[in-house]
């Protein structure tokens, strides 16, 4: 019986050389401050590439700022009030949320299922595990272009196959819902394996004896999965949901490259699949060059991500609470 296959005895710490006693200010300063120095690079980089652009974007969003212009004028919250009544903005919000929902939900469920399969004793286990990550390693641009061709109106393979079975071709790029589906397919293809590996890692940390106990109690595989695996994966699921929320709501490359030709940034002639980030780009850069307005879109996107992430976490917490198994308290492995 393979118990705790993946658990290793704790690594014995390397025998510590007794340090020669060093007195003097230098070593005290070293001990006191060098940890700060070691963690500093992250915070310095975050300040430069994270906090500063955030603050600057906010500052820009309060201005009427032509990208090429030299004299932006301060207009307070005008950009925001305009944006809240901008139908194209809300259209892009709906698109973003729509694509997010139809890509993230099946993606995470599929990932969970895949992870569960990979967690069994398979031949060539490492090979399978690596294989699910392959889509994630390919370049987004290449994926988007290939999918863009697959879903082409006239020369696309998907419509060709529909034609073979006698169905009418679908305007994958000019029908709103169809374009959401096509883009979601792209996102799922790329990210399912990635999430599956994260779930797999978390599954392996679940002690085997929980399953044995469940099996003795008469739970079959499916029951074990829902009663043991899923509840114990809750923190990981929350993590994946938040990461997917951030990624999903910032979706840009896939829908942008899905459309080619003039004005691809609109995501179709009637903005069928224009996401928020595309709308931001359209305003801040070509063809409007309205930097202030674009920045306001960026800040509202930030707010939206925060809201959606919070809602998601709340939902997941609720779901998990009801299904918590009694044996869940015995976390911690064999005694």
């Amino acid at each position: 019986m393979a118990l705790q296959l993946d658990a290793h005895p704790p690594a014995t710490p390397a025998p510590r050389k007794t340090r020669p006693p060093r007195s003097g200010r230098l070593s005290r300063i070293d001990a006191k401050y060098s940890p700060y120095l070691y963690i500093a690079p992250f915070f310095v980089i975050f300040a430069i590439f994270g906090a500063w652009p955030l603050a600057y974007t906010f500052w820009v969003s309060l201005h009427d700022w032509d990208l090429l212009g030299t004299d932006p004028t301060f207009i307070g919250a005008d950009n925001y009030t305009q944006l809240l009544v901008d139908s194209d903005f809300w259209h892009s919000v709906v698109n973003t949320l729509g694509i997010f929902v139809i890509s993230t939900v099946p993606q995470l469920l599929l990932a969970l299922w895949l992870a569960n399969l990979l967690n069994r004793h398979l031949r060539f286990r490492t090979g399978w595990r690596m294989a699910v990550l392959v889509p994630n390693v390919t370049s987004t641009a290449a994926v988007a272009i290939v999918f863009g061709v697959l879903f082409g109106r006239e020369f696309g393979m998907v419509n060709w196959m529909l034609d073979l079975v006698g169905l009418d071709p679908i305007g994958w790029k000019s029908d709103r819902f169809a374009s959401w589906v096509a883009i979601s397919a792209m996102v799922d293809w790329r990210w399912t394996g990635y999430n599956a590996l994260i779930f797999l890692a978390a599954m392996q940390a679940i002690p085997r004896d929980l399953y044995e106990a469940a099996a003795i109690d008469g739970a079959n595989r499916a029951r074990q999965f829902w009663a043991v695996t899923v509840p114990l994966l809750k923190p990981t699921i929350i993590f994946c949901v938040i990461i997917s929320t951030i990624g999903g709501l910032q979706l840009f490359t896939e829908p942008r490259l899905f459309h080619s030709g003039t004005n691809a940034i609109r995501g179709g002639p009637m903005r069928e699949s224009q996401t928020l980030t595309m709308y931001m780009f359209e305003n801040a850069f070509a063809p409007y060059y309205n930097f202030g307005y674009g920045s306001a879109v960026a800040w509202l996107l930030f707010a939206l991500i925060a809201i959606v992430a919070a809602i998601n976490v709340l939902i997941i917490r609720r779901l998990g609470a009801g299904a918590r198994p009694k044996i869940g308290g015995r976390k911690g492995g064999p005694q």
């Binding site: 109106r153 020369f155 030709g261 009637m270």
Partner: protein, 434 residues
């Protein structure tokens, strides 16, 4: 491992970081040591400068020229250029500016070197007057760019598809088929009835653009904005007339609906999926690039329906952020000289904006083998000297985008012509207000 003193490790780390900062800080120091200057030229589409660069580099051994962006489309190029200019970094030493965007760049002339300060005034006679004026700021004090090409118009067509449809293939006879757009539509209907498996034209947006520039050029000389920069999309009869003509083309089912510049459009070229495309002179290079060598000799060029007109054409400018301004200005002057215009024309077909070049036998007698030996110089050159340009207002590109999009929605059957027209007006107003 544990024996390495900790403070020494910290010192090493610090030194490494320091070294990194120093080296990256000096990263900008280019090849000045060996005495050569590298000039970066940013373009889109096909400018046809390769041979000219070689000539220039031979004559100026200290200069190395690198071109970026060939074959790319304007929609991708212009945001990049704008970002470079806004950031004050990244733009080439010489940049191409398309006429539709010139208005916006001209509004902020300090991003560019004023070529009048560098003796460009003497060159005025080398350019068609309106082309020269396009590069000039409203007050006439600053010259942003020197003209490259103009977009004299014609109609390119596939002789093999015309033959298949039982239509004449000779360019003179084909030109006689369509003195007006109505007759172009009538020809299209005949073509369609012959069921060749190809559409009559590529995309209604391309045709619309051609027609609107024609009708506007021949009427008041402006389309979306009047010359006082008021938005007149809804009140300018030239725009509505062009719209209605385009709707007739769509209604007749003549368009292949291949969104211009999209991947499908390129595939449609390769797979001979449409028979005609409105082609400004610069488009001939694009057609050759997209349709590839397999279609060599299958294309030909006839007159455009209607009365000539201008679509497109660019300027070359030197951004103020360039570190090699003097050298860049020299290169711009060379590329926009009569000799430069002729060289570019021979390579990729953009029509000169220099009257001297237009009269040169190298242009007037030029033929294009790819287009069945069509006398491109004569076809395009004829109208170029007399054509009336269309005035472009401050948000021209954004407004044009909205109107073209409305055309596209009708073409794809998402909107009927009346709804499309309402969309065009509403969205154009919104875009102009942004």
């Amino acid at each position: 491992m544990g024996t390495f003193p900790r403070h020494r490790l910290a010192a090493v780390a610090l030194a490494a970081v320091g070294a990194l900062l120093v080296t990256s800080g000096c990263g900008g120091g280019d090849d000045a040591e060996d005495g050569t200057t590298t000039l970066t030229v940013d373009v889109f589409g096909q400018f046809g400068y390769e041979e000219l660069y070689k000539q220039y580099m031979d004559a100026n051994p200290g200069v190395k020229i690198v071109e970026r962006g060939t074959g790319g489309n304007l929609d991708e190029y212009s945001p990049k250029l704008t970002q470079w200019l806004a950031a004050g970094k990244g733009a080439g030493d010489v940049v191409a500016i398309e006429e539709g965007l010139m208005v916006e760049y001209k509004a902020n002339p300090d991003n560019f070197v004023n070529l009048l300060d560098h003796g460009a005034a003497d060159l005025k006679g080398n350019f068609l007057e309106w082309k020269w004026n396009q590069g000039l700021t409203a007050d006439g004090q600053k010259l942003i760019g020197l003209g490259t090409d103009v977009g004299g118009m014609a109609m390119c067509y596939r002789t093999d598809l015309f033959d298949k449809a039982g239509l004449p293939t000779d360019r003179e006879e084909v030109s006689k088929l369509w003195p007006t757009w109505q007759e172009y539509i009538a020809t299209g209907e005949k073509f369609k009835a012959a069921n060749t498996g190809a559409a009559f034209l590529d995309a209604a947006t391309n045709t619309f653009n051609t027609i609107v520039l024609q009708t506007a050029g021949n009427a008041q000389g402006y389309h979306y904005y009047d010359t006082s920069d008021n938005l007149v999309v809804d009140s300018n009869p030239a725009v509505k007339q062009a719209w209605d003509t385009t709707m007739a083309i769509i209604n007749a089912g003549l368009s292949g609906k291949y969104g211009s510049w999209s991947d499908e459009w390129v595939s449609a070229f390769k797979q001979s999926k449409f028979a005609t495309i409105a082609c400004p002179a610069w488009m001939t290079g694009v057609i050759e690039g997209n349709a590839g060598p397999e279609a060599n000799g299958k294309w030909d060029i006839a007159r455009v329906p209607g009365d000539g007109g201008n679509w497109g054409g660019s300027h070359l400018a030197v951004p103020r952020q360039s570190k090699n301004q003097e050298e860049a200005i020299k290169l711009v002057k060379f590329l926009t000289s009569a000799e430069g215009h002729i060289g570019a024309f021979k390579a990729k077909g953009p029509l000169p904006s220099s009257p001297q070049a237009l009269e040169d036998s190298a242009i007037t007698e030029a033929t294009n083998a790819y287009f069945s030996g069509a006398p491109v110089g004569r076809i395009f050159g004829e109208g170029a000297k007399t054509l009336k340009p269309v005035y472009m207002g401050p948000k021209n590109q954004a407004v044009r985008t909205e109107v073209e999009n409305a055309v596209r929605t009708v073409e794809l059957g998402q909107r009927n012509p009346e709804q499309g027209w309402q969309d065009a007006i509403a969205n154009a107003k919104k875009a102009a207000a942004k």
